[in-house]
Symmetry: C2
Subunit: 490 residues, 2 copies
């Protein structure tokens, strides 16, 4: 398979699709809409999981596991939830197959379920049905639980990582004695997500709240982090919901307060998914392939020997062995690719495609000079360095790359953030220079809906601590007190 990718400028969408497959991240499966996450892609997801899981535990959360299936009737219990979710789902109706007449297998019609089961699209209902048994008094609160799981939302048009019928995610579900505590939890987890996006993924995000239109089905308030991709489209990278007492009321979950009063429990839920892989790819990568921030790279450094004959390879390998050990002692992950089945040039292209942050090449002349050639993936710059203390130099370089990727993504976002004061200007910006468009909005769902229908742009969020300024809605001309963030989005 050729390593050549389409160019971003020419066909961004093709470029993305090819990159995901060629860099061995994921591929389409035999099941429509479901992906196979390949080992290299899964290794990145594991790094994300480890970092997030630690952040969740450091903020007092524990993991648990709830059933894959949800009884159909559960969805009807929370009225707004069913409207938002229950429609496009995988429905289990039978529990047995049998041999058919021609050697094929068929569904055993006698094994029909009394009540259909839905493959979870999200777990609020089954979890709050469980919490009913866990919560009697204020002593049982808060409950700070997270689940790592697969979920299914039937999708007609899918794209690897960005929108798939099955995806992997984590969903936090917490229960609290007061609204204030639940809101604080919702905001805390939003901050955890933002920190993860910026410090680990090197993706700058805007923290904000969704408009009522864009809220999670069943939430009183949805907080989100919004990122901007290189093509100027927005991507929602994580959400944290204040659910009020909606699910507690739907599943009758009450607690006795210190004063002995009965009240419904307050809830939050929050999640990020394998969609983050899509955000990671689209924020940093280039026409040569993936670009990974060092903190999430399955291996941070690849070493390629350039040699003629076994003897030279043995001499190089001896030096490499020591360098590798010294780097590993610093917690740097290193791969030494001494395969003789591929040429150096092939390997260089391969690791560029796979986004390995640092490549070290070492040849015969380097042995004589005590040097190595170091190439960084983010800028494609090369320099010749002395082997002495290489581990410290690489350690610093990895930090620089991590920072540089963030700064580059931030500059890109800033360059693609526009203000529009009239609807004409707004539409023109969307067409000519896609990005975040800051514009005044009259605060009504009707206006939001009209703009969406006419331009495909949605309100990504109302930023937290948003600057207040008097203006007029670009659509209705009515007065407005702040600009909100519009964009076309994934």
């Amino acid at each position: 398979m050729s390593k050549e990718l389409s160019k971003r400028e020419e066909n961004y969408s093709e470029w993305y699709n090819e990159l995901v497959v060629k860099a061995d991240l994921a591929e389409h499966s035999a099941v429509k809409g479901c992906m196979v996450i390949k080992p290299y892609g899964y290794a990145i997801w594991e790094k994300m999981q480890q970092a997030l899981d630690k952040m969740f535990k450091d903020t007092g959360h524990v993991n648990a596991y709830f059933p894959l299936f949800i009884p159909k009737s559960f969805f009807s219990k929370e009225a707004s939830h069913v409207e938002g979710f229950a429609k496009e789902c995988a429905v289990v109706t039978h529990y047995r197959l049998k041999n058919g007449e021609n050697g094929e297998i068929v569904v055993d019609e006698t094994a029909k379920l009394d009540e259909e089961l839905i493959v979870r699209p999200t777990s609020e209902t089954i979890i709050w049905n469980t919490y009913k048994g866990w919560i009697q008094s204020y002593r049982d609160l808060p409950i700070l639980v997270n689940q790592w799981a697969n979920v299914v939302r039937w999708e007609m048009r899918t794209r690897l990582f960005l929108r798939t019928t099955e995806f992997l995610w984590q969903e936090g579900h917490t229960a609290h004695a007061t609204a204030a505590e639940a809101i604080a939890e919702t905001e805390q987890m939003l901050n955890v997500y933002a920190e993860f996006a910026e410090k680990w993924m090197s993706i700058p995000v805007i923290k904000g709240i969704k408009t009522p239109n864009e809220r999670f089905a069943g939430a009183l308030e949805t907080y989100c982090i919004e990122a901007l991709m290189q093509d100027g489209k927005a991507l929602q990278a994580g959400t944290s919901h204040f659910l009020g007492q909606n699910f507690a009321k739907a599943f009758d979950v009450k607690f006795a307060s210190k004063e002995g009063k009965q009240d419904y429990v307050w809830a939050t839920s929050w999640g990020v998914s394998t969609r983050l892989m899509g955000a990671l790819i689209m924020t940093h990568s280039d026409d040569k392939g993936l670009v990974l921030p060092p903190k999430l790279a399955p291996f941070q450094v690849v070493i390629v020997p350039i040699y003629k004959g076994e003897e030279q390879l043995a001499q190089i390998s001896e030096v490499v062995k020591k360098m590798k050990k010294a780097m590993e002692a610093k917690g740097i992950t290193v791969k030494y690719d001494d395969r003789d089945t591929q040429r150096p040039g092939w390997k260089f292209a391969e690791y560029e495609l796979k986004g390995v942050p640092v490549r070290i090449a070492i040849g015969a002349r380097d042995l004589e000079n005590g040097t190595v050639e170091v190439a960084r993936r983010d800028t494609m710059e090369k320099e010749t360095l002395q082997q002495a203390d290489i581990e410290t130099k690489i350690e610093h370089l990895l930090e620089q790359i991590q920072d540089n990727l963030f700064q580059k993504a931030l500059s890109m976002r800033e360059a693609k953030t526009y203000k529009a004061d009239t609807y004409e200007e707004f539409k023109q910006v969307l067409e000519a220079t896609p990005g975040f468009v800051l514009a005044h909005w009259d605060g009504t769902a009707e206006t939001e809906q009209k703009i969406k229908e006419e331009t495909k742009a949605t309100i990504r969020c109302i930023p937290l601590n948003n600057k207040q300024e008097a203006g007029t809605c670009i659509y209705s001309g009515k007065p407005s007190t702040q600009r909100v963030v519009f964009a076309r989005a994934y």
Copy 2:
């Protein structure tokens, strides 16, 4: 809820069911046959996962993720596989719900799938269908992939952890160029499982191979580890399968050898599941509750202060803080339970129920004497120790407990392992003193089946490196060259 459990001697089965729920490990969910794994139980499973995952990676394996759903037709492709598996499955037939007439939601009959999807009971078929695209030549081999996932096998009679409709597991699926390499992989993973069982879970296991009757559907050889529970019933704790070229042929996966010849690829698969939680509980626990080997305990040490008044608590807490820090520096996990809502006696019973390996109590007199009271969960022994260097003493004690649990389980197994030379004797042993029964068998499936029907005992395995001795089959009287391991099993 009372902490009192049924007694093992009186009702082993009730004791187990109560223990799982009361120790906060798992509970039944609203979905028949599916369990909720509660945070304390899930924390133990996470420790298991971490240890196993490291062992898999240390032996060269990588993780990946394959779809939850499998097209129905895939099951028909490998003839023996469909016989063993495809029958009791969750079948997805529709992909949409809609609002019904009375406000309830109903299945949208217009959204019927052309081909039904099966929720994976195991993933050989979908994975080998994927490998077809990954393998062209010997250079692509071996593929050493593992998946952590949920699977569903419809069960009519379920028990928490031991047999549930949905369970969590890992499934390794490897592809090799030669039969010898695949067999070596199968045996390597059996050894990994045995080491994990013995070193981490403190459960002695017999390594062996299954009879053809008991083989995995589609395997040429199934290796297993078999453990013995306190009630004398056996539990299969892990399996590793040599699949030959069966799945490669079913999904047409060929490779070009170094010499340019086309051949089908050789396969293995291997797995352990949340069933291990059941084995862990039933091997070590007692009438007071769970007993955990230190290496798998969510926290290894609990410290309980015994005090009157705030001032005394403050003095105790100061000492505890230092001890805790010193222990944590050694990698020991410690919980300090200074809640004022519960009395010490209640806490003691709680942590005995939850199987915390070591309890440290510290009161006013201990402050004066520079001592603490240390109680170990496995033997229920208590001793008074000087606070000085407590971290080293506890470190050694935890190692002792880990070893002691293994030795105790080994002694139990040895005491419950019998020889039987006649069918009468065999039946009597099974009734009077359940355990492993070593007996001669004529090697036929018919005899095995008859014995199973008449006694409910199955051949658990033919041990590896089994001692060869001449004898006669207990059932048929025909000649036999070795004893095999019989037992009634979970």
